[in-house]
C-alpha cells in the first residue's frame, strides 16, 4: 500500500503538494481526483487507477498563472506557503462549482484547509478578487 501523497512527492517529484498533519485534518495535501478535492495523504494509490489527478503543478498554463494564484500573490493570500497549494486547489474547485460564491460559501468550501499564518481573511479576500477578475 502506498499513499498518493508519497507517490506524487517522492516518485514523481511533484513536491508542490505538501504534507501537513498526515491525517486528513489540514488540507495541505489537497489534490483533485476527477475534479473532486481529496486529501492525498488519505488515498491509497491503488484507488486512483484510471483517474485524472490534478496537482498544483497543473494549475498554471505555462507561464500564465490561474486567476486564483495571481490573486493570492496580489492580495497577500500566502505567507509561509505550506497551505497555499491546497488552498488554491480548493478555491479553484469551489469556483468551478460555483463561480460567484458568497463569503459563507467560500468559508465552507475552504473549511478543510487550515492556515496558521494569514488568519484566513487575506485568503478569502484573494478568492473574492479572483472571482471579480474572472468576470
Amino acid at each position: 500500500m502506498a499513499r498518493l501523497l508519497d507517490v506524487l512527492r517522492e516518485e514523481l517529484k511533484l513536491t508542490g503538494t505538501k504534507e501537513g498533519c498526515g491525517e486528513g485534518e489540514c488540507g495541505a495535501c489537497t489534490v483533485l481526483i476527477d475534479g473532486q478535492i481529496v486529501n492525498s495523504c488519505l488515498v491509497p494509490v491503488a484507488q486512483i487507477e484510471g483517474s485524472n489527478i490534478k496537482t498544483i503543478e497543473g494549475v498554471a498554463q505555462e507561464s500564465n498563472l490561474h486567476a486564483v494564484q495571481q490573486a493570492f500573490i496580489d492580495h497577500g493570500g500566502a505567507q509561509c506557503g505550506i497551505c497555499t497549494p491546497g488552498m488554491v486547489l480548493a478555491a479553484i474547485n469551489l469556483l468551478d462549482r460555483n463561480p460567484t460564491p458568497s463569503e459563507s460559501e467560500i468559508r465552507t468550501g475552504l473549511a478543510g484547509n487550515l492556515c496558521r499564518c494569514t488568519g484566513y481573511m487575506k485568503i478569502f479576500e484573494s478568492i473574492v478578487k479572483a472571482c471579480q477578475s474572472n468576470r
Binding site: R3, G24, Q36, I37, L42
Partner: protein, 289 residues
C-alpha cells in the same frame, strides 16, 4: 510512529462477487474511502493485514428510490448524499450530518457504509440513520440478509457483522414526512471536528401530543444510542414543561457519557440535556419535512 507500509496488502477485486469470495477467506478486511483507515495507517495503529479495495466496485454505489423506501449503496459518499434531491427533502438530518462531517475533501471520499462499519460511537451520520429506522444489507459469498440498523452495534466497536460479510446497502423507509426533524452536532468547530455530542431526533406531533418519536445521541455511550426510555416517556403525551423535565431526568439515566480527549462527561451530559430540551420545546414550531 509511521506504519511499515510493506506489511499492508491492498488488492482490488474485479467485481462484488470476487470481493465476497476474498472476504470469505480468513484475514481479509474491506477498505472503502480510507478516511478512517488511512489515519490509523499513518499513526501506526492499523493492523498489518490484507485489505480488499472495494472503492472501485460500482455495484456498491448509487441511490435508488421506490415509493416506499430509498436505498443507498454502501459506497455512497457524504457528497453524494448532499446532492440527492429525495434525501434533501425527506431525510434532511442525514444531509446535514453529511455536510458537517470533516470538510469537503473528506466528504468526497468518506462513505455511509464506512461510517457504519467503522463503528465509532462518535459517527455523525449514524444517529440520523437510526432515527430514520434504517435497515442494512449484509452479504457474504453464499447469502445475504437485511437487518434493522437498530441493535446492529452491540458494544464499543462491536457489531453483528460476520468476518465473511460485507455491508452492501442501506435502506431508509419513506415514512417520516410530516414529522419534525432535528439535527445538531456540537464540536470544537463546524468543520473537521469530531463530535462532543451529536443528536438526531424526529417526532410526529398532533395537537401538541407526541404520536411517535425517535431520539438518537452520538458520543454519549459506547455505541450511537437510541434513547428508547425517553421515547417511551414522551409517546402519547402532551408536550409541556413537566414532560420536558421528566424526559431530561430519564435521559440522565439512559446515557453514559465519558471523559476523553474531546470533552468531559459532565459537559456532554449537560449538552445532551440542552439539546433534548431545545428539540422538545420547539416541537410544533419547527419546519415540517
Amino acid at each position: 510512529m509511521r506504519a511499515y507500509i510493506p506489511g499492508y496488502e491492498l488488492v482490488t477485486p474485479t467485481s462484488l462477487n470476487d470481493a465476497l469470495k476474498l472476504i470469505a477467506e480468513p484475514g481479509w478486511k474491506p477498505f472503502a474511502g480510507g478516511t478512517d483507515l488511512m489515519v490509523l495507517l499513518e499513526s501506526g495503529k492499523l493492523e498489518p493485514r490484507r485489505y480488499i479495495n472495494i472503492w472501485p466496485l460500482d455495484e456498491l454505489r448509487g441511490i435508488e428510490a421506490t415509493p416506499d423506501s430509498i436505498t443507498l449503496g454502501a459506497l455512497t459518499t457524504y457528497t453524494d448524499v448532499q446532492a440527492n434531491q429525495i434525501l434533501r427533502k425527506e431525510f434532511p438530518m442525514l444531509c446535514q450530518a453529511a455536510s458537517e462531517t470533516g470538510g469537503l475533501a473528506i466528504q468526497n471520499r468518506g462513505t455511509i457504509g464506512g461510517n457504519i462499519a467503522n463503528a465509532s460511537p462518535a459517527a455523525d451520520t449514524t444517529p440520523a440513520l437510526l432515527a430514520y429506522d434504517a435497515e442494512i444489507e449484509l452479504r457474504s459469498k453464499d447469502d445475504s440478509r437485511w437487518l434493522p440498523y437498530q441493535g446492529f452495534h452491540t458494544g464499543y466497536k462491536q457489531m453483528l457483522l460476520r468476518p465473511d460479510e460485507l455491508l452492501t446497502r442501506i435502506r431508509l423507509p419513506r415514512n417520516k414526512s410530516g414529522w419534525t426533524h432535528y439535527f445538531r452536532k456540537v464540536g470544537t468547530r463546524k468543520a473537521q471536528a469530531i463530535s462532543k455530542v451529536c443528536f438526531s431526533a424526529v417526532a410526529h406531533v398532533h395537537d401538541d401530543r407526541v404520536v411517535d418519536t425517535r431520539l438518537v445521541f452520538g458520543s454519549v455511550a459506547p455505541v450511537v444510542m437510541r434513547c428508547v426510555n425517553v421515547e417511551n416517556e414522551l409517546r402519547d403525551r402532551v408536550i409541556n414543561t413537566d414532560l420536558i423535565k421528566s424526559a431530561g431526568q430519564i435521559l440522565r439515566k439512559e446515557i453514559a457519557p465519558i471523559d476523553d480527549i474531546r470533552s468531559s462527561a459532565p459537559y456532554r451530559l449537560q449538552v445532551a440535556l440542552n439539546l433534548l430540551t431545545d428539540f422538545l420545546s420547539n416541537l410544533g414550531s419547527q419546519p415540517k419535512h
